[in-house]
Symmetry: C2
Subunit: 314 residues, 2 copies
């Protein structure tokens, strides 16, 4: 069972940490945030206010003021963590920084407090080994921004206690995220492995001149990505053959095996990246990247509202 | 330029061919449909009427009766093709069947008439070599159902005339599809190569016990698939690093290269398919597959209406 405390701590309050603060605050939790940068700390409240207003505008939140009132900013890590039963750590992603912050957390967390790291690629075993309470550290990897994209990968280190993993999975369900539980550590976890294979193939097709960057993008945005926005690849193929997944596999696994590139292509080549950069910058000048990100998040928030209205949000 | 004719022919009117009939009829074209099966021919009009009513219900079509009045069913292939400037062929996908139908079309199509095959994997060079007018045959591969998922891959055979490819690309734009133009034939084209690499990795993760089928699905449906439903993988990474695609590549191509399975995994093993089948059938009994497909298409049609309302449909 969860401790009585309804307090969580946010350690590292850049874009990812801020999104996490919104996730917990809107779900009714008291959220205590800390970031090592004074500048970042100084803008947390106003950024949160703006984002909560955006959520209200698309119908995803009734009372932004109530959510905001549950959020506070603290000048020290120890101050933020005080009374928290769960810490979401979202600091800069290097082994050195993650190790230092984990040791700092290890020294101040209360009895039973659990720590989830937003690490997108480095497994917890690489930065929590020296922690006295290492059995309470794990990965809780979101997609950015976490208050709009609900999936979160829960990845235990070899020494993480199963009970703690189960508590964090339950917590994520309770706050409206969609936790995905990995049995053990693997490079890239599940999400970035799936993204990685698709990106590697997309780069190879582009390198070989099969299609333009824009056309490869269209294949996903106006094709595969539409079903995938509300059902995964296994359910998709289960519905794509008369007899379900087994029937689909019997018909097509040979085709898919034949498509595998052997030997595998190496890292994306410099000159191909340079060509792709020219194609993207012609479509979207560098100075418009920030506006396009805001556009993306606005579309994402409306997609979330749409999925919610259709009963597709979990 | 397009011929004066506003008539297209549908050859093969199963689910894919029927969807194509709706695409052209709602766009104002006269559509003449043929299927070798009398039973299939007998249900085309009522199926089209139902689907056009569904499109109206979600706000994607104003006048279903007008669209239906442009559609007719013919008892012979030659009869359907009469007067058509474009033929969309969607017959059963084997080299033998495609070859026979292509030769039949070759003998009756008018001067300048173009033929696109809905083939999802067999390239046109494998079934049009013997055609006298083989320079007018190509692949026009949709996602099912084509009236809801707009992408269509245009793939020339080595002998397909470029002018004809350009006409079909223009036609697809005009009827509201999103054509993706491939420079040349490649196994699986673009769409199924991208789907294939992701499926192969998903099966491998499942085989290794990293996560459940449902959790791997959730990683896409509540994670990666959300952005991919309105922007492709290249635009996604372009927006996911401060300096755009080049910056993203510099940071992460090494990580993605390290994830490649070497040697590649073979075809999905029988026992893994059997296990996955049990997991899927526990989640969705076989007798509910048809209902779930109807549910999927209803959600897809509402997603299309949502994307249209957000300016995301092309």
């Amino acid at each position: 069972m969860m401790p009585e405390s309804r307090t969580v701590a946010i350690v590292g309050a850049g874009l990812v940490g801020l999104g996490w603060a919104l996730v917990f605050a809107r779900a009714g939790y008291v959220v205590r945030a800390y970031d090592p940068s004074e500048e970042v700390r100084g803008r947390i409240m106003s950024q949160a206010e703006d984002s909560l207003a955006d959520l209200r505008e698309v119908g995803l939140l009734n009372d932004p003021q109530a959510a905001l009132s549950r959020l506070s900013v603290h000048d020290t890590l120890a101050g933020a963590v005080e009374g928290a039963f769960y810490v979401q750590e979202s600091v800069f992603e290097t082994v050195e920084v993650k190790t230092a912050v984990s040791l700092e957390l290890d020294a101040v967390i209360g009895a039973g407090t659990l720590v989830g790291s937003s690490s997108s690629g480095i497994p917890a075993s690489r930065f929590t080994e020296q922690c006295a309470h290492r059995d309470r550290f794990m990965i809780a990897h979101p997609v950015n921004p976490p208050h709009l994209v609900p999936v979160v990968e829960i990845v235990p280190a070899p020494w993480t206690a199963t009970e703690g993993v189960e508590r964090v999975v339950a917590l994520m369900h309770e706050v409206g995220q969609v936790p995905v539980r990995l049995a053990r550590e693997i490079d890239g976890f599940v999400l970035n492995r799936l993204q990685g294979v698709l990106l590697n193939e997309a780069w190879a097709l582009y390198e070989d001149g099969i299609a333009s960057l824009a056309d490869i993008d269209a294949t996903i945005a106006h094709g595969l990505g539409m079903r995938w926005s509300f059902m995964g690849p296994f359910e998709t193929i289960d519905l794509n053959a008369p007899g379900g997944i087994e029937d689909y596999a019997a018909r097509l696994r040979g085709l898919y095996a034949d498509m595998v590139r052997t030997p595998p292509r190496g890292p994306w080549p410099d000159e191909v990246i340079a060509k792709a950069t020219r194609e993207r910058r012609a479509a979207l000048p560098a100075e418009d990247l920030a506006d396009r990100r805001a556009w993306r998040d606005a579309r994402l928030s409306r997609l979330v509202a749409f999925k919610t209205s259709q009963g597709l949000s979990d």
